[in-house]
Amino acid sequence: MVRSSGLTDLVGRYTTDPDLPLRQHAYQSPLRDERVAAWLGAALGILFTTCFATGLFSHLHQHPLSWLPVPARPAGLYRFTQGLHVASGIASLPVLVAKLWVVWPRFVSFPPGRRIADAVERLGILALVTGGIFMVFSGVANIAQWYPWRFSFTAAHYWTAWVTIGGLLAHLGAKAPITGRALRHRKSRPALAEADPVLGTGAEGRHDGLDRRGFLRTVAAASGVLTLTTVGQTLPGLRRLALLAPRDPADRPVNRSARNAGVLESAASPAYRLRVEGRVATPLTLAIDEVRALPAQHADLPIACVEGWSYSARWTGVRLRDLLQMAGAHPGAAVHVESLEEHSPYRVSVVNHLQAHDPDTLLATHLDGEPLSPDHGAPLRLIGPDRPGVNQTKWVTRVVVL
């Protein structure tokens, strides 16, 4: 028990009681009530869960498991899931800020807790809040290609996602009774003044400014405006509205330029060869003209970046499965595709047996009828259905049959 003294009075003035949503004299706003917190929490829970599920799918693409091969169809699945991942993350920014604002007095409640359960709950909230802020911040920074850190974005974003989703799950269980009560139909839930005399009486009185419904609508509007001004980077119908998107699909963007990859010379060199090796009957070594002389195929496929932008294009090149057949690889083989790029985590990508034998998986030489530019992966780039852009390896020089 805290004894009354000058110090505790002072602390008490700037902190809140953990048993109440807030002490009115410390943080007055009719918007800080449990119904608003519950609605925002539910929205954030849905957005974060969507991000987590689509993020896991993206992780599975980039770190394949042999016992769970990613299918090659539908061809636009990754485009959809990763577009949704980034859009949900962007839309969660206003909801997260609003939610933190509504519950902020809780963070400065004093004393912090009286029971073991309080400590367990608060530590879980710490994981959720620090993780949630980091996930949204690092995601927004990453799509704008801002890297104020030296760790690997994908590794940090991935492992922190587990911390965040764990914090969310623990929080869900702790708040389920309150959220359930708050989200119940108007007729069957108690009046605010009844549920919480201190807060409710103030909250339900008349005042200028946004009421609770207006506040929630404003947060929804903020998410809506952010979505409308960015989602055109993956949805062609909204491309003209994508004023704040970090990429414009009309430019046929790239994530890594040939210059940054350090392949300008090797990709244009007459010594360039494509090798098909590994578990094959006849290893192949082909100059680029020999590759171009092989029967060309077309495939209309999206290129979908992990950063959430995508566009559909017509790719022309030689089918990977035709090359594998020429080399006498066994049907059903998976392959590694290697780039000229030397120092990149994406130098090699795995093409599983489903993707390698898909008729649309090409080593492309042309994009929309034009020869590939160096930035797009000339002389050869891998393009296949339902694959993240980082796995559509550029500047391909070697195919290793596993």
Binding site: Q145, W162, V163, G173, D196, S257
Partner: protein
């Protein structure tokens, strides 16, 4: 944000908080299993995750929110409540909230950090001009909504 009745004295309500049943402890156990899995992964893959720096970003993000963003929002809310009253306060709050989150999102593009990569397809727009345009639309729509709701009363 608005001035209301000031509460003083012992707050009413249950002193022991809500009851903690199997749902609380079950989800806490499952949630903590996931949290520890994440922490284990971050420590295990330390070459990629740089746990020390990652921890600084996690704590730094929370502190940046609590010590910079939250006080700024409180100040902006207080200033707005003192200067704008009546039917204009709600649309002003709404416009400020939407514009503020737009600014937060656009900040890295405004600063143009991606230009260090010399990738001509990164940040293709004039983000300051586009942000001003979108904020302008938000302000006009908020004002129009206020006028429409006023005329209905």
């Amino acid at each position: 944000m608005s001035a209301g009745p000031v509460f003083r004295g012992t707050p009413p309500g249950p002193r022991d908080g809500p009851k903690r049943g199997p749902l609380f402890w079950g989800s806490a156990a499952a949630g903590w299993a996931l949290i520890l899995w994440g922490v284990r992964g971050a420590l295990h893959h330390r070459i990629d995750t740089r746990p020390g720096q990652l921890a600084r970003f996690l704590i730094g993000g929370a502190l940046a929110h609590d010590l910079v963003l939250a006080p700024l929002v409180l100040l902006a809310g207080t200033a707005l409540a003192r200067t704008v009253g009546g039917r204009w306060r709600a649309p002003a709050q709404a416009a400020l909230l939407v514009s503020g989150t737009l600014l937060l999102f656009t900040y890295p593009a405004l600063r143009g950090y991606a230009r260090a990569l010399h990738n001509p397809t990164s940040l293709p727009h004039d983000y300051a001009a586009n942000l001003a345009l979108v904020v302008g639309v938000v302000v006009v729509v908020s004002a129009a909504a206020a006028l429409v709701s006023a005329s209905r009363r």
